[in-house]
């Protein structure tokens, strides 16, 4: 039994990668094991926890619910791509640091990508909207209190850094 392999070109954080994978290879596994971008974490493998959330053409997607072959031609952003080019933390990352929005850090990448997309869509969320923005991601450590604060802080930082975006 030999599996058929497919050539796939993935564009991740602005870099192009060519991999050869079986059709069933999950995008989450391709990112982690083929591209060695291990910042994307896998918590449940059926799209419920949100730890593996990445941005596909700017939209948050569960990378455990996509096949690598179906990401051909898409622009993918993972947590590694949220850091500023000069190595400093991006605004959502910085907000998590300031607000103690993480403990074990395992679910964090999925929150960071989700909030990045959420703030693009709604740059000035109300408190209720900040809670709503993270309502599809599971965290077992923080009780979400400081993650909600981090959403609000990230919105403020983003506005201060890039006022033209809002």
């Amino acid at each position: 039994m030999t599996e058929e392999l497919h050539d796939v070109r993935l564009t991740v954080n602005g870099n192009t990668h060519e991999i050869r994978v079986p059709a069933r290879r999950l995008l989450s596994d391709a990112l982690r094991h083929d591209l060695r971008l291990t910042g994307t974490h896998v918590g449940c493998e059926h799209g419920v926890c949100g730890a593996c959330t990445i941005l596909v053409d700017g939209s948050p997607m569960r990378s455990c619910l996509m096949f690598a072959v179906s990401a051909e031609g898409s622009e993918i952003t993972t947590v590694e791509g949220l850091t500023n080019p000069d190595g400093s933390l991006g605004h959502v990352q910085q907000a998590f640091l300031e607000c103690h929005g993480l403990q074990c850090g395992f679910c964090t990448p999925g929150f960071l990508t989700t909030i990045t997309a959420g703030l693009r869509e709604n740059p000035t969320p109300t408190h209720e909207e900040a809670r709503e923005m993270i309502a599809g991601n599971l965290c077992r450590c923080t009780g979400y209190q400081n993650i909600v604060k981090a959403v609000e802080r990230a919105a403020a930082l983003r506005q201060a850094q890039e006022p033209e975006l809002t």
Partner: protein, 795 residues
């Protein structure tokens, strides 16, 4: 002058790598290398005899490297084919049974490991698992406490009555005191199973190095030294041939303290046999059915009390469902039976429990570790007494409190560490006053009436607990000041999100007088600190924090000795600020810690400008040995902290809930916590721990349960069906107030904080819902449909 960092909300250093996606969790280890991946065939039956295992079809699959069953284990070592260790023996555990790394002849729960496949990738390994054929002879399963007690069927043929252990403790004569008491009540309570559910499951990577004749194991554990010892024993290796490294861990909450898991032995075994790096990463369903659960108990309470609600005698019997095996011994029920007493004086106390086998996933500690059940029993009793006497629930608690001048207070029992249950310090009346103010206890009746006028139902509950934290036997620390002036710290226990790299660096910076950013802390690496116990029982800050403080003190003594000689000053006149030792009042006379480190290590060879200063023609009194007697080269400090007994943190929670008159939906309006863990090292981190604990407690009280059917199938073994709280299920804000009653048992006056948030949840929600509904609550968790059914029963 550097500000003291103890007590400051210092931002976490570990966040830098986590936020950039550069954490190194176990599944990230060796990702650059060509590793083999393992998958496990698990029993689909709760109770069955294995007639035959046919692995023939597996070997044809391209990419499969090996398949192991129990028959193959003895070829590694005879020990590998023996049952897994019973980690914590106890005289009362007369019938302790543990599973094999791979099942031998019989399986006792859905999820028990039967075969282990190693292949090129996980996909192929799972394909192979699917092709293994096993013939089973099905046996009737035992599911739940009632079936276990009835014992019509036995889980293990040689364990009569399914009873693993029966333990009774007595203080005074509770039955006689209850008999004579002016008032008596009986309660029957149940609490269901939940589980830790860290976002990262279990995982292990191992590599055998044939050049060094040495095994390296990375595992997502709460005890790297424990895994190391177990792997060495089972694989017939010397301890010195095994290194265990705990990388970043994506949450533990207790489940990762049990060890060795079958895979923690099978992965190293396969790595050595195949000469390749092997990795096992558990998936979510596997975590549900093959790690561990907790909480399930049935309790019967008899209590006698006076007109003020003062306890005169308390008699508790409970039945603890420990699942198919009991590798972690009786820790959970012992904690329930002792910590049940909370901040109260029972006068006379009798407690007896039976720890029972069932054909379900085994039970090992989950955050709180038996305390939530004990707190539930005691606090339900307090509420029942108040209701019976028509008294305020807070007042009934207050008359039973141990008073501040009564510490140390000996409860007369033996605790989980084999030591006397003696509380070191606390101030329970002050905590209660703070809690009442924080939640608005005295104003609540008016609020309730106001709500009732609007057709809304609200209720308030409170619950108190005492938590023995920082149990022994010990932890150690090593502090090394390098010639760069940077400080490298190692302690052996592990980290799974508590921010140890930050809080321990705070302690070292304070004690040594160095910059916080110059301190680097490593945990859970047996190469750096081979003597350690583990991370459990809210013990890391107390145990390793104290050990690190002591080790830093030793390093500082050496710094001052060498610096005093170099500066020709008295040690008493020196101070260390920002990594520079200087004579007080004469800042020009100074030496930096890096230079002191150079001087601490007399050299023959110079390799840079700094080291020239330590060579034999540069320093030293020719009339004396270069390394003084009773000294060692290097600027290091090493010490251990081993307290006589645990230190007892305490706290009280209150919650206000609203219950929907139509749908029975339960909404949290306010959640308040008063917490006393002695001196705080980093209040930001302590509050984070409380937030997380409260959220887990809400899950356990209102949503989470393990839905076993009568055949022993776990029906909700996924995040889709097991309802863990999202942000939508936790309150918007948790009010926290601290009391800081220092512990006299350790140099920093600290107590543990990790489990506090979760302990009173079942109790406090039961109380609040009972208050809202005027219906007695005796079973937790409680869902809206269950509450609705209770309303019908009571109408």
């Amino acid at each position: 002058m550097t500000t003291k960092l103890m007590g400051q909300k210092v931002q976490r250093v570990e966040d830098q790598r986590f936020l950039r996606g550069l954490g190194r969790y176990v599944d990230d280890v060796a990702v650059e290398q060509d590793v083999l991946h393992a998958a496990v065939l698990r029993s689909p039956h709760a109770h069955a005899r294995i007639i035959d295992i046919d692995v023939e079809a597996v070997l044809d699959i391209e990419g499969v490297h090996a398949v192991f069953t129990w028959d193959d284990l003895a070829s590694c070592t005879p020990m590998m084919a023996e049952p897994l260790p019973l980690l914590i023996p106890h005289p009362a555990l007369t019938h302790g049974r543990t599973q094999y790394a791979l099942a031998k002849d019989e399986v006792n729960y859905v999820g028990e490991a039967i075969a282990f496949v190693v292949a090129e990738d996980r996909y192929i390994a799972e394909d192979a698992v699917g092709r293994i054929r096993v013939d089973y002879e099905l046996l009737p399963p035992v599911v739940g406490v009632d079936a276990a007690r009835a014992a019509k069927t036995l889980v293990h043929d040689d364990v009569p009555g399914n009873i693993g252990a029966r333990l009774e403790q007595n203080v005074g004569d509770a039955p006689a005191a209850i008999e004579k008491a002016p008032h008596r009540l009986e309660l029957d309570l149940t609490i269901e199973r939940s589980a830790c559910m860290p976002m990262e499951g279990r995982g292990t990577v191992a590599r055998w190095d044939p050049d060094l004749n040495r095994l390296q194991v990375w595992t997502s554990t709460q005890s790297s030294t424990g895994v190391r010892a177990a792997v060495a024993v089972k694989m017939g290796l010397d301890l010195g041939q095994v290194d265990v490294i705990t990388p970043d861990v994506g949450g533990g909450f207790g489940v990762k303290i049990n060890h060795p898991w079958p895979e923690e032995l099978l992965v190293p075994m396969a790595a050595k046999a195949l000469g390749r790096t092997v990795k096992f990463t558990e998936d979510r369903r596997e975590h549900f059915i093959s790690s561990a659960h907790e909480r399930g108990q049935v309790q019967h309470i008899e209590v006698g009390f006076d007109d003020d609600g003062r306890l005169l005698g308390l008699d508790v019997e409970f039945w603890h469902d420990h699942g198919a095996y009991i590798p972690y011994g009786l820790i959970v029920p012992i904690i329930t039976s002792t910590q049940l007493l909370g901040p109260y004086k029972p006068q006379n106390y009798r407690v007896v429990f039976e720890s029972l086998y069932t054909n379900t996933v085994m039970v090992t500690p989950y955050r709180g570790a038996g305390r939530p059940q004990g707190c539930y029993a005691m606090e339900r009793t307090m509420d029942a007494i108040a209701a019976y006497l028509g008294k305020d629930r807070a007042d009934v608690r207050a008359v039973n409190f141990i008073q501040p001048d009564e510490f140390p207070y000996d409860q007369g029992l033996i605790f989980q560490d084999g030591r006397e249950l003696e509380y070191d310090s606390g101030d329970y009346p002050a905590s209660l006053e703070k809690l009442k103010a924080l939640v608005g206890w005295d104003e609540f009746p008016a609020f309730k009436a106001e709500m009732a006028a609007q057709g809304r139902q609200v209720g308030i509950g409170l619950a108190c607990y005492v938590e023995g934290t920082g149990v022994g036997p010990y932890e150690g620390a090593h502090v090394h000041i390098e010639t760069s002036g940077k400080v490298k710290v190692a302690t052996g226990l592990t980290t799974q999100g508590q921010g140890h790299a930050t809080v321990f660096a705070q302690l070292v910076a304070d004690e040594l007088g160095v910059k916080f950013e110059d301190v680097e802390v490593v945990t859970g690496d047996t190469r750096r600190m081979p003597y350690a116990v583990g991370t459990f029982a809210s013990r890391a800050a107390v145990m390793s924090g104290s050990a690190i403080h002591l080790a830093a003190k030793r390093a500082k003594e050496k710094v001052l000795k060498i610096a005093a000689e170099a500066l020709e000053a008295s040690e008493d006149d020196l101070e260390i600020v920002d990594g520079v030792v200087s004579v007080k009042g004469s800042p020009g006379t100074s030496i930096d810690l890096g230079t002191v480190s150079v001087l601490s290590n007399p050299l023959r060879y110079a390799f840079d400008e700094a080291s020239k200063a330590a060579t034999q023609f540069s320093v030293g009194d020719p009339g004396k040995p270069p390394v003084p007697e009773d000294e060692e080269p290097g600027l290091e400090g090493r010490d251990f902290y081993s307290p006589e007994r645990a230190t007892f943190a305490s706290g009280m929670h209150a919650v206000i809930v609203e219950t929907d008159p139509e749908t029975a939906e339960i909404t949290i309006l306010k959640y308040a916590v008063v917490h006393d863990c002695g001196h705080l090292i980093n209040p930001m981190i302590v509050e984070g721990q409380i937030h997380g604990g409260v959220a887990q407690g809400i899950g356990g009280a209102l949503y989470e349960r393990m839905a076993y059917d009568e055949s022993g199938q776990l029906l909700n073994a996924s995040f889709m069906d097991f309802l863990m709280p999202y942000v939508t299920e936790v309150p918007d804000g948790i009010d926290i107030d601290h009391l800081e009653t220092p512990s006299p048992l350790n140099p920093l006056g600290i107590k543990g904080a990790g489990e506090a948030g979760v302990i009173p949840s079942a109790a406090v929600f039961a109380a609040a819902i009972e208050d809202a509904e005027s219906i007695t609550i005796t079973a937790m968790p409680i869902s809206p449909s269950e509450l609705y059914a209770l309303r019908l029963e009571n109408s």
